[in-house]
Amino acid sequence: MTLLELRQVTRVHGTGAAAVTALDGVTLTVAAGELVAVMGPSGSGKSTLLNLAGGLDQPTAGTVVVDGQALGELSSRRLAGLRRRSIGYVFQDLNLLPALTAAENVALPRELDGISARTAHGEAIAALERFGVADIADRFPDDLSGGQQQRVAIARAFIGPRRLLLADEPTGALDTTTGEAVLRLLREQCESGAGGVLVTHEARHAAWADRVVFLRDGRIVDESRASEATANGDPMLSGGRS
């Protein structure tokens, strides 16, 4: 099942001589169970792609489809609802609200959705549990380590029915092993049926994805897929590049 589809998506900023094409005819699909990484130098269009996929920006041409719904055809109210219900975001800057506890932060999008505070709280605890941080549910973001904050942000991204994750450098300033734990979590969520887009300029992080697409000047110029698993499970180490 396709969770996200970009069809010939173009985004031009400005007009006339000052027009800058940030994204140029990009086509990309993300299926349930799949983690796709987007790599490219600064200015290649990575963030534009993510903003368009999340309905935070509108394409100049082309179509963005999330969960079977073309975003361009939705009223702004229905678009906001779809964003809350279908899409989870994790940004480098985590955007946790400092005045709310971890559980309240995670529950917030569900409460905005109109479900009861009690149900939302239950879902938040379940999400925090899933990411191994249920014990810090009642603490405030400022009292949490970077890794814990990141897990709270990811729990928020996956609360309720949300199945499409959009992540922009989600391992930000975390150390190697904590960052790796975060990527492992994202990966496991995708394996259990979510879909994700991971924007990063770090090759080591992108390598956690099933597919890596390379953006350059607003276009996809190449794509790398992991090798098919072999019987003895190591396609690389048995041969490898000399």
Binding site: R187, A226, S227, G233
Partner: protein, 178 residues
Amino acid sequence: MSVKLGLLALLDEQPMYGYQLHTTFKERTGDTWPLNIGQIYTTLARLERDGLVEPAGDDGDGHAIYALTDSGRDELRRWFATPVARADRPRDELAIKLAVALTVSGVDVREVLQTQRTATLRDLQDLTRQKREVAPDDLAWLLALDSLIFQAEAEARWLDSCEERLLGSPAYRNGVAR
């Protein structure tokens, strides 16, 4: 150097026979370092010639057991106490290929870089997948995989840096020599 020293390290734990060394070596390095049994025997012969190991009877089934000598033990301590020098790589094919590509007219160097980047990423993806499947307590295998992962990452970063330099150079336009 290191097959020799690797075997010395294993024999420091206990005397072993050739096949046993082969199996243990594979376990410890997690197959990052393919080594056939013949290399084990020739290395053992050389170590014995140099007085670093000595025969220590057999295991009852006719397998010749080897044990570390005192000078073997000294050699091992010296190894652990000495940093590994960055290996000289007299022929780094990739660096040479890029250097040559810069001088051949009409070659799209950016394309050469991207082709390599995609291949490097695929290697990284394969290594990362293997890492996902490693049991958390298999530290030796994790460290060995991390080593390959960080090397591949270094290559990817170097390729990024090559591209930045290329795009910043007035002698090239979109990766092709003017």
